[in-house]
């Protein structure tokens, strides 16, 4: 079974503890939502899970997780590439790329460049890119900002099936999105979990 374990993780920035003694075990098919105020360390936890940031103390244990896909808070699309290229450069599964493009409603603007898109459009491309990558773990950091409610519901419906065999963490300010995804909610408040 695919598994991600945070084992007494600490992380401090500028001598301030951002993450203090955080522990959690996340298994495939059981999505988890990190919920809390801005600046409480949710994105840091996502970055630690993705391997982009090393914890100061504690351990990250993964089992059967070789590839991780991330929907970053700031989209991080390639400005010199069209929406289609942004998706296809990461896509390991073309069929999945087609399907998620349809679910995200991006088929009409696949030829556009990021600087020709709205924030919501870019976010949908970022979601499609992460899904098309088809990793063992999916990390979603504020993945639905700027996307309309109806579209969010369609994407969540798709994700519910898609993440059945994946480890998934979502960071969101909207607790209803986490509930719709059937995610277990971990409240993060002043380093208290």
């Amino acid at each position: 079974m695919k598994k991600l374990v945070f084992n007494s993780v600490y992380k401090c920035y500028n001598e301030k503890d951002v993450i203090k003694n955080f522990s959690a075990e996340i298994t495939e098919g059981n999505p988890v939502c990190f919920f809390g105020e801005s600046g409480c360390g949710k994105t840091t936890l996502i970055n630690i899970a993705a391997g982009l940031v090393k914890p100061d103390k504690g351990k990250i244990i993964t089992e059967k997780i070789a590839h991780t896909a991330v929907v970053f808070q700031e989209d991080r699309l390639l400005e010199s590439c069209t929406a289609e290229e942004n998706i296809m450069l990461s896509a390991k599964n073309t069929e999945l790329a087609r399907k998620i493009s349809d679910v995200c409603g991006i088929t009409e603007f696949l030829k556009l460049y990021p600087n020709e898109m709205s924030g919501g459009m870019k976010k949908r491309i970022a979601v499609a890119r992460a899904v098309a990558f088809d990793g063992d773990m999916l990390l979603l950091d504020e993945p639905f900002n700027g996307i309309d409610e109806e579209r969010i519901d369609r994407i969540i419906e798709f994700l519910k099936t898609y993440i059945e065999n994946k480890v998934c963490i979502i960071v969101t300010h909207d607790i209803n999105q986490a509930k719709k995804l059937n995610a277990e909610i971990i409240y993060i408040y002043d380093n208290y979990y």
Partner: protein, 258 residues
């Protein structure tokens, strides 16, 4: 549209103004040996155009400067990649590049004359003029690559060639463009200066020097005009090459992936 809004009319008016000013200065100075008139310069140019040596001279100078420039570009790019990848090499190379940047071109020309044949000196000097500019700008371009985009590329397991084509080259291109434009101008000026001092056969700089020695002021002015025109042509060619490279990149981007 008013006639004064016409681009060609504006160019004509500007040219007439400066030619009139040039002629006025000639009349005031009144000595051909100090300043040649526009008419004398034009006549000298027409005479030069009728000789085979003229064409051989401009071709040879053009080739020398172009060789130095393109070698300088290649070395500048390679040095930038290496120094950005390895901080120790950067630390070792930086003083050398700073010394090259602050050393007068004339010093390099004199030193180079002791090392190589006079025909090779302009190539070397154009190279020395171009490489540090390209190195500096390309290094800036590499450093300007967004760390967050590199993190994204790591997460989505982009290959080296994809990172190069889709992340590094688009970031470097604007810096490269300004390096090429300023490098081309500088290479041309330095190359001709090396020809003046080294006086190789069939060289614009040598012709300039000969005209000065024999007090042929109208020829001196005519050769200067030729150098300016060639410098502009060289810069335009280089800009076209950059534009063509960018267009090729955009056309490739239009390919369907789905």
């Amino acid at each position: 549209m008013k006639i004064t809004d016409n681009r060609y009319f504006k160019i004509l008016i500007t040219a007439v103004f400066w030619l009139a000013l040039w002629q006025a200065v000639c009349v005031i100075v009144g000595r051909d040996v100090l300043i040649a008139s526009p008419a004398d310069t034009f006549n000298a140019l027409i005479e030069m155009l009728q000789t085979a040596v003229f064409y051989k001279t401009i071709v040879m100078s053009f080739v020398r400067v172009a060789c130095g420039f393109f070698i300088g570009m290649a070395v500048g790019i390679i040095a930038a990649v290496i120094t950005c990848a390895n901080k120790t090499i950067y630390m070792l190379l930086k003083p050398a590049i700073n010394i090259i940047k602050s050393t007068p071109v004339a010093s390099f020309i004199i030193i180079a004359l002791a090392w190589m044949k006079s025909g090779q000196v302009p190539v070397f000097i154009s190279f020395i003029a171009t490489a540090p500019i390209v190195w500096g700008n390309v290094s800036e371009g590499i450093k300007s690559v967004d760390e967050k985009i590199l993190e994204m590329a790591k997460i989505f397991e982009y290959s080296f060639s994809v990172k190069l084509k889709k992340i590094y080259i688009p970031s470097i291109m604007p810096f490269m463009r300004s390096a090429i434009i300023s490098g081309a101008g500088f290479a041309w000026k330095s190359g001709v200066a090396a020809e003046v001092i080294g006086s190789p056969k069939y060289a614009l700089g040598s012709k300039l020097y000969d005209a000065k020695v024999y007090l042929e002021t109208s020829q001196l002015f005519a050769w200067t005009a030729v150098i300016i025109i060639l410098s502009i042509i060289f810069e335009k060619i280089v800009i076209r090459l950059v534009n063509a490279a960018e267009c090729k990149k955009e056309t490739k981007n239009e390919k369907t992936c789905f």
